[in-house]
Symmetry: C2
């Protein structure tokens, strides 16, 4: 499957799961429902917990052919043999991560300015996470919502595949794809759904 | 110079320095005064700042032949070509760090129990940081002070070189070495000294 296709239904986790076991089990349910990529993000966890979650998610994603990405941490990605990392402006630069990970791994980046995006593209980023498309509760520092028009503009300017992120409900997914995204990153809409598997199935119905 | 000798006067940094530039300049002064190892620890800094500090410290340590260690973060150590990492119970396990860093790098560990120490030794740790020898203000979760008698006991039980850490004032350094340590880790006594270079010179006078 192409990277574009694997980025289509992209689940980002949250430390609000409370435990490694709960986080992994939510992801397993979501994968069963049709999630094609999982990003391990758990901001206030210890490295020991992160590594445990990463190794368990690596196994769960392997069983389903799901892409497995680690947020921020290149060492955790290396140690768990993740498919790649997702970086932001405060993290290791894309070029440094590329050197540490090698050419075969996937590197995603969340740019904050056009210059920032261009630098990441020049350093060999594989995809961009652009947002927040809508308002979000799960990321405190996410900034003001772009809305779909502005999002579509940013997609047009990008030279690598873009996924939309930030406050995207299941019912919004189709419009984000229509705006040019190869995929939609969901956090709350699936990770904090009463039934993550059912929510993922609904997402498949919206963006097959 | 042997590792034991390089561990002798070991400076641990603190994010209280406020900026990368200030942290690096304090370390440069301390190195001029006779510090033989620097550990970059700056708990609340972004990875981008940590990497910048690590690269600058790597250069400063190279000029002086000083050992350069990164606290917790294997990826920052790899990216800055540090001499090694210092890990604790919540960080990546010693064995995982060894796999990522390779056999040539130095791995230090702060054990919390005898089992914990033994596991680290079996996983190939190069030295142990044992403490807090005295009461400390610079590490909130450091636990109760060991005092010198108990510290000496722990040194005897260890199978790799031990440095003492935690609340060690310049005047205490000799007693920590007498208790069996190969080196003394200082934070406040040098890093927050009015004149870090002068403080390091005093430390040399205590433990040449």
């Amino acid at each position: 499957m192409t990277l574009e296709r694997r980025l289509r239904r992209y689940l980002v986790t949250d430390s609000g799961a409370g435990s490694v076991e709960r986080l992994v089990s939510i992801c397993e349910e979501a994968i069963q429902g049709g999630i094609t990529a999982v990003q391990l993000r758990a901001k206030d966890w210890s490295d020991r917990e992160l590594l445990r979650a990463a190794c368990d998610l690596r196994a769960a994603c392997d069983r389903a052919g799901t892409l497995f990405i680690v947020n921020d941490r290149v060492d955790i990605a290396l140690a768990s043999n993740a498919d790649g990392v997702h970086l932001g402006v405060d993290d290791l630069p894309v070029g440094v991560a590329r050197e540490l990970l090698g050419p075969g791994k996937v590197i995603g980046y969340s740019p904050e300015t056009p210059d920032d995006r261009i630098a990441a593209e020049e350093a060999g980023v594989d995809y961009l996470g652009v947002g927040p498309v809508f308002g979000t509760q799960t990321k405190g520092d996410a900034g003001e919502a772009l809305r779909l028009d502005r999002f579509a503009e940013l997609v047009t300017q990008s030279n690598v595949p873009v996924i939309g992120i930030g406050g995207i409900a299941i019912d919004d997914a189709r419009s984000v794809i229509k705006a040019g995204a190869v995929g939609v990153a969901v956090v709350g809409a699936v990770f904090f759904a009463k039934e993550p598997r059912a929510a993922a199935i609904e997402l498949v119905a919206q963006i097959p």
